[in-house]
C-alpha cells in the first residue's frame, strides 16, 4: 500500500470519526479533566480555585472527610495530584474511556462492508488487507491522539497551575492505546463477520469485561495457590506434621484449567496500566540492586560507595552478588556478598512415617559452624532479629588472624538467604560495619515478599515484572496480547478475502 492510498483511507476514517457523535462526546469528556487541572491549583497548604478566586486549606478538606493524617503540606499537594492522575488513568481512561473509544470507532469496519459502500471502495485498486489494516491503524491513531491530548493537557495544567512537574505521567497515554489496540482487533473481527456496528460494540465490550473477570479470577487463583504453598511451608517449619494436600475435585480442576486457558489465550487488558506504571518507573527511577523473578526478594539500593564485582552480577541464586570497597577502608568492610538458594530438604522419621521438611536458616548456620570447625576455625554464633526477621549470625576469623567474616543466615518461604561481610577485624567491629549492615538489611531497602499480608491485586502488581517467572512476566503479557491482536487481524483478513460483495 503506498502512502497516497494510506493517506486517503486515513483521511476518510478521520472524517468518519469527526462526524460521529460518540467521538464528540469523547472529546468533551477529555476536555473536562484538562480544564480541571488548569482551574484547580494545588499548593503547599491549600487548593485554589480559578487562580485564587477561592482558597481551601487541606486541613478543612481533611476535616470534611474526617481524616487525620501526618502528611506534610507538600505531601498533600503531591498526593492530591497523584490521586487525580491515577483516578483519571485508571477509572476515567481505563474503564469509561476505553468503552467510549470502542463505541466511537466500532463502525469503522462495518460501514465499509455495507452493501453499496463496499462495491465502490473495494473496486478501487487497493487490496483488501490494506483496507482492513488502514481501518485498524486509523482507529489506533485516533485513540493515540485522544489519550495524548488528555495526558499532555493534564501534565501542562499541573505544571503551569500547580508547579508540579511529573513527565512520567505522559506515559499514561500508552495505557489507553495498548488497551484499545487489543479490543479494536477483536472489534474488527466481529465487524468483518457480522457487518454490524451494534454487534461489534456489544461483543467487544463483553470481551473487555470478560477479560477483566478472567484476569481477576486467575490472579486470585494464583495468589491463593502461592499462599497455600507458603502456609504449608510454614506449618512444616513449625511442626513435624505436614498435612497432605487433598486432590481437587474434577469440576474444580476443570474450572481452574479453563480459567488458566482463557487467561493465557485472551489479551491481558488488566495488565495495561501495570505495564505503563512499570515502564514509567523503569524510565524515571533507578533500577533495583536485586529483584528476583518470583517477586519474593527486592533490594532497592546497593551498599553506598561500594562497587559491584562485575562477574557476580545476576548470580544472586548461584554464588551470590558481591560488592567491593576497592581499598576504601572507612566503609565497614572490604566486601559484601548476598545470596539465596533453595532450602535443602531433609528426611525425618516421625513414628513409622518418613516426613520431608525444608532446612531452616538456623540449621543452615549450624551446618556452616560445623564445616568451619572441621577446618580448625573457631566460629561464634548468635541468634538475633534483624528488621523483624529471625537471623543467625556466624562470625569467624581466617587463619591469618586478621581477615574476619560475618555471615547472617535466615530463611523465608522456599529460600535460605545469606548475607556476608568480609574485612579486617577493625573494620568488622567498627560502628561503620553495623551501619552498613543496618542500611543494607533495612526494611525499607530489602523487601521480602510476604504474601500473607497482600491482596491478590497488590501481590500481582508486585510480582509482575520484566524478570518474573514467565506467567507473571511483562514480556509474556505483551507477547500474548500481541499474538491475540495478530490472530484477530489474520482471522478478519481470512474472512474478508472470501467475502463476495
Amino acid at each position: 500500500m503506498n502512502f497516497i492510498i494510506f493517506r486517503a483511507l486515513f483521511e476518510d476514517a478521520r472524517q468518519q470519526v469527526l462526524d460521529n457523535k460518540v467521538f464528540r462526546l469523547l472529546l468533551i469528556l477529555t476536555a473536562i479533566p484538562i480544564v480541571l487541572t488548569f482551574v484547580l491549583g494545588f499548593h503547599e497548604e491549600s487548593i485554589t480555585l480559578f487562580w485564587g478566586w477561592k482558597e481551601i486549606d487541606y486541613k478543612d478538606i481533611m476535616e470534611i472527610f474526617s481524616a487525620g493524617g501526618q502528611s506534610t503540606a507538600e505531601d498533600m499537594a503531591a498526593q492530591s495530584i497523584r490521586f487525580l492522575q491515577e483516578f483519571t488513568l485508571d477509572a476515567v481512561v481505563g474503564r469509561i474511556g476505553i468503552m467510549l473509544c470502542i463505541a466511537a470507532t466500532a463502525f469503522f469496519a462495518p460501514k465499509i462492508l455495507e452493501k453499496g459502500s463496499a462495491d465502490t471502495l473495494f473496486s478501487k485498486p487497493v487490496s483488501r488487507i490494506a483496507i482492513l489494516l488502514s481501518r485498524y491503524f486509523a482507529g489506533i491513531l485516533f485513540v493515540a491522539f485522544i489519550s495524548s491530548l488528555l495526558v499532555t493537557g493534564m501534565y501542562l495544567g499541573f505544571l503551569i497551575n500547580s508547579g508540579f512537574n511529573d513527565p512520567g505521567f505522559l506515559w499514561g497515554a500508552l495505557t489507553l492505546v495498548y488497551l484499545y489496540a487489543m479490543m479494536h482487533a477483536f472489534s474488527m473481527v466481529v465487524a468483518v463477520f457480522t457487518r454490524s456496528s451494534t454487534a461489534a460494540i456489544l461483543l467487544t465490550i463483553t470481551l473487555y469485561m470478560f477479560c477483566g473477570g478472567i484476569h481477576t479470577g486467575w490472579t486470585s487463583l494464583e495468589f491463593f495457590t502461592q499462599k497455600q504453598h507458603v502456609a504449608m511451608l510454614r506449618i512444616a517449619d513449625n511442626s513435624d506434621d505436614e498435612d497432605e494436600v487433598e486432590e481437587a475435585g474434577e469440576l474444580i480442576q476443570f474450572l481452574t484449567s479453563s480459567l488458566r486457558f482463557f487467561h493465557y489465550v485472551l489479551p491481558k487488558t488488566s495488565d495495561a496500566d501495570l505495564i505503563t506504571n512499570k515502564l514509567k518507573r523503569a524510565l524515571t527511577e533507578k533500577p533495583p540492586a536485586i529483584q528476583t523473578s518470583d517477586g519474593e526478594f527486592l533490594m532497592k539500593l546497593p551498599p553506598a560507595d561500594f562497587s559491584l564485582v562485575a562477574d557476580t552480577k545476576g548470580k544472586f541464586e548461584d554464588t551470590g552478588v558481591e560488592w567491593s570497597a576497592e581499598g576504601k577502608t572507612h566503609l565497614g568492610a572490604d566486601s559484601m556478598r548476598i545470596r539465596r538458594y533453595e532450602r535443602p530438604k531433609q528426611e525425618r522419621k516421625v513414628g513409622s512415617k518418613t516426613r520431608i521438611r525444608s532446612q531452616t536458616g538456623n540449621e543452615t548456620a549450624k551446618q556452616k559452624m560445623e564445616e568451619l570447625q572441621a577446618t580448625g576455625a573457631s566460629p561464634e554464633s548468635e541468634d538475633r532479629k534483624l528488621s523483624g526477621v529471625r537471623t543467625t549470625q556466624v562470625t569467624w576469623l581466617e587463619s591469618d588472624g586478621d581477615t574476619k567474616h560475618r555471615m547472617y543466615f535466615f530463611h523465608f518461604d522456599d529460600w535460605i538467604y545469606e548475607f556476608e561481610l568480609i574485612g579486617s577485624v577493625a573494620q568488622l567491629d567498627s560502628h561503620e560495619a553495623s551501619q552498613l549492615r543496618r542500611n543494607t538489611l533495612d526494611r525499607g531497602n530489602i523487601i521480602l515478599g510476604d504474601i500473607t499480608g497482600k491482596t491478590p491485586g497488590t501481590w500481582y502488581s508486585d510480582i509482575f515484572s520484566l524478570t518474573a517467572e514467565w506467567k507473571y512476566n511483562i514480556f509474556f503479557s505483551i507477547g500474548s496480547s500481541l499474538a491475540f491482536i495478530v490472530s484477530m487481524l489474520t482471522l478478519a483478513w481470512l474472512r474478508l478475502r472470501k467475502i463476495d460483495f
Partner: protein, 318 residues
C-alpha cells in the same frame, strides 16, 4: 487458456465463467444458487457494450467478478489481459455500482478526491480532475455539501463522476441513469459518447433498453446465467416486414387494390400498414402510383430492443 497481457486485443474476456453462491464450507447441505453457468464473452476496445437481462440473470455477478468484488468462480476472467484480482488492473477501471452509497459524512468534493487518491492519483491530480467532472454532471455548485444532503439523482451523478475521476480506460456503469431526471439522463448519455470518442470502453448494465439502444454498439442478453444472444444493435433489432404508408389523400378501401400483396393489412384513413416482402413493397408502390395516389411517407418497422429482449426471454422461459 486466455492470452496474457499484450497479446489480447480485448479489454475484457471471460471463458466458461461459472459462479455459485452459498455452497461454501458452512453451507455443505445447500447446493447454492448458480448465478453464472459458463459465460464466454469478449469486449473490444472503444466499444459501448450493453449487458442486458432480467433481474437475477447474473449481469451484476459477472461485472463484480471482473472487478474482483466476487471471488471463488470457475472459468477464466481477464481485464486488460490480467486476472481481476490484480489491484493494478483496477487502476484502469471505473465503476458505478447499482444502488451505491457514497460516504455520507463526506462532501461531494471530498468523495471525488478520496476515490481519485484510492485509484492512485495524488491529491492535486484528483482535485484537478474532480472539478471538470463535477461540472459535467452538473454537481459543481453543490459539491461542498455533505452527501447525506443529496437527492437520489444527485448521488447518482456524483457516483458517475467518481467512477471517472481517475480517467479509466474501461468503465462499468450499472444502471447509470437510475433516479436521474430526463435532463440528467441526456447529460449522462452525452458523457458516455464523449468517453467512447476518447477511446474508453464502456460496459453498461441497464433495464432502460431504449437508452441502451441509443448508445450501445454491441449488446449481450443473458438469462439464468447463460448468454441468450449477442450482437450489434442492428442485429438485435431485425426488420419485422411491417411497412407503414401515409398518402396525401384518403384512397378509400384498399383491400381490392392490394389483394395478393402482403398480409395483415390495416387501414385508417390515408394511413395503412401491411406486412410485405421487398418485392411486394415495390409492387404496392407501383400500384398506388398507377392509381394516382401521392405517397407522403413510407416507414419500414424494426423490432425495438425492448421487443427483441422480451421475445427472447419469453422464448427462453418456454
Amino acid at each position: 487458456m486466455l492470452p496474457i497481457m499484450g497479446e489480447s486485443e480485448f479489454v475484457l474476456e471471460v471463458r466458461g465463467l461459472k459462479k455459485t453462491f452459498g455452497s461454501g464450507i458452512f453451507n455443505r447441505k445447500s447446493k447454492g444458487f448458480t448465478a453464472l453457468r459458463g459465460i464466454d464473452l469478449s469486449v473490444g476496445r472503444g466499444q459501448v457494450f450493453g449487458l442486458l437481462g432480467p433481474n437475477g440473470a447474473g449481469k451484476t455477478t459477472m461485472v463484480k467478478i471482473l472487478l474482483d468484488l466476487v471471488r471463488g468462480y470457475e472459468g477464466e476472467a481477464r481485464v486488460f489481459g490480467q486476472p481481476p484480482s490484480d489491484p493494478k488492473t483496477r487502476r484502469r477501471v471505473g465503476y458505478l455500482p447499482e444502488a451505491h452509497r457514497m460516504p455520507e459524512y463526506l462532501s461531494g468534493w471530498q468523495v471525488m478526491v478520496l476515490f481519485g487518491m484510492l485509484a492512485g492519483h495524488t491529491k492535486k491530480e484528483a482535485e484537478k480532475t474532480a472539478a471538470p467532472l463535477l461540472e459535467k454532471v452538473g454537481m459543481l455548485k453543490d459539491c461542498r455539501r455533505k452527501v447525506r444532503e443529496y437527492s437520489k439523482g444527485m448521488q447518482q451523478r456524483l457516483g458517475l463522476a467518481q467512477a471517472l475521476v481517475h480517467r479509466p480506460d474501461l468503465v462499468f456503469l450499472d444502471e447509470p441513469t437510475d433516479g436521474v431526471d430526463p435532463i440528467g439522463r441526456a447529460k449522462i448519455r452525452e458523457m458516455v459518447v464523449d468517453l467512447k470518442n476518447s477511446g474508453s470502453t464502456i460496459f453498461i448494465n441497464s433495464h432502460l433498453l431504449n437508452e441502451v439502444e441509443m448508445i450501445c454498439d454491441q449488446v449481450v442478453i443473458i438469462n439464468h446465467g447463460e448468454i441468450l444472444r449477442q450482437g450489434t444493435i442492428e442485429e438485435m433489432t431485425p426488420r419485422t416486414g411491417i411497412t407503414q404508408f401515409e398518402l396525401r389523400r384518403d384512397p378509400g378501401p384498399l383491400d381490392i387494390l392490394l389483394s395478393g400483396l402482403g398480409t395483415d393489412l390495416e387501414q385508417k384513413g390515408c394511413r395503412f400498414k401491411v406486412k410485405v416482402t421487398d418485392e411486394e413493397l415495390d409492387a404496392i408502390v407501383d400500384k398506388l402510383r398507377a392509381e394516382k395516389h401521392t405517397i407522403a411517407d413510407i416507414t419500414r418497422k424494426r423490432l425495438t430492443l425492448e421487443e427483441s429482449f422480451i421475445d427472447l426471454v419469453k422464448e427462453d422461459r418456454q
